[in-house]
Symmetry: C2
Subunit: 197 residues, 2 copies
């Protein structure tokens, strides 16, 4: 007895990650009952984003042009290529203002359990980009999670085999971190990777 358009909306909301039947229903009622303007804006934003967004030919991140403004910026150091999982990671590194090279955004990580292997991540595009003339060093900045580490490992092997110089962000105790409040795995790693002062 539910109107078909309401049924279709609830079903469509389930494509959102982490949204099951109950919360899809709650979302639909909220949008229709309390925020029709927001719902209309969301409908338009989805349609528009799908129309205009594509992957940058150079860095693979989302852009509305063939090459995104960052990759097209001649003041960035084109000899450095930093590989991150997601645009949010790129944004964090930009915030440090400690890096002026270019990026490659994987748009994910290797995750065999979710069916995301080297092919699904399209690592061929990264290899093509990283082996271009002018790239002196590839810095792997994937997360230090199990999946991020596995991704870094695989990418490093693929690029090293092609003669590309590959580095990885260092691991250790966070700046400002107290040993008492640092997990033992991090402390162990910081011991192994200790530096001469």
């Amino acid at each position: 007895m539910m109107p078909s358009s309401l049924d279709a909306l609830i079903e469509a909301l389930r494509c959102l990650p982490g949204v099951g039947p109950k919360s899809a229903q709650r979302m639909a009622y909220h949008l229709l009952q309390r925020d029709q303007r927001g719902a209309a804006r969301l409908g338009r934003a989805l349609t528009h984003a799908l129309e205009v967004l594509r992957h940058c030919e150079r860095c693979n991140s989302f852009t509305e042009e063939a090459v995104c403004p960052r990759c097209a910026n001649p003041r960035r150091d084109a000899s450095l290529l930093c590989v991150v999982e997601m645009p949010a990671d790129l944004a964090m590194i930009e915030q440090t203002q400690a890096y002026s090279g270019l990026y490659y955004v994987l748009m994910g990580r290797l995750s065999p359990l979710d069916g995301i292997g080297p092919r699904e991540l399209r690592l061929g595009k990264l290899i093509a980009r990283a082996t271009e003339d002018g790239v002196r060093e590839v810095i792997l900045a994937t997360n230090f999670t199990n999946e991020g580490e596995a991704t870094a490992h695989t990418v490093a092997a693929l690029l090293s085999a092609r003669g590309v110089a590959v580095t990885r962000l260092s691991r250790g105790v966070p700046v400002g971190g107290e040993l008492e409040h640092t997990d033992t795995g991090t402390i162990a790693q910081a011991l192994v990777e200790r530096k001469t002062v």
Copy 2:
């Protein structure tokens, strides 16, 4: 440096209840990267639902017609009017197959903290419906939460003052429930509302 269409999509996703900046971003990337078909379907479903859905003139639930099929069904007992918070509550009562009267769906509950008072709930529409000729009894089936109880209390007062006969679902130990696993508040209520056998 984020494309404006991506920015707009992330912002628009935040109109969904319980979705903050981080999860709006995760949702946007998921839709664009892994489920463009789902995203397109969601965009269309939102636009279509906003176009065709409205509130039933009789029961206030969502419908695509002026009066929904349930309210228009002459085989339902028009002398009984059951008041529920949401369509999902109505669906639960229908599932019992123990009720053949009509409904009124509040599409919410009184919630002063969220700024939802008698005016926002449009209780005037319920009063007009409940005081129509032919309505013999109004059954309050709001939830037994604090907000649902307060809503039932307010509606009961408004309708009783107008001479409408008002009842409330009974409270007590659930069917099949073991006392050992029933909360003490429910047991206390079942004691107070004990019936002669």
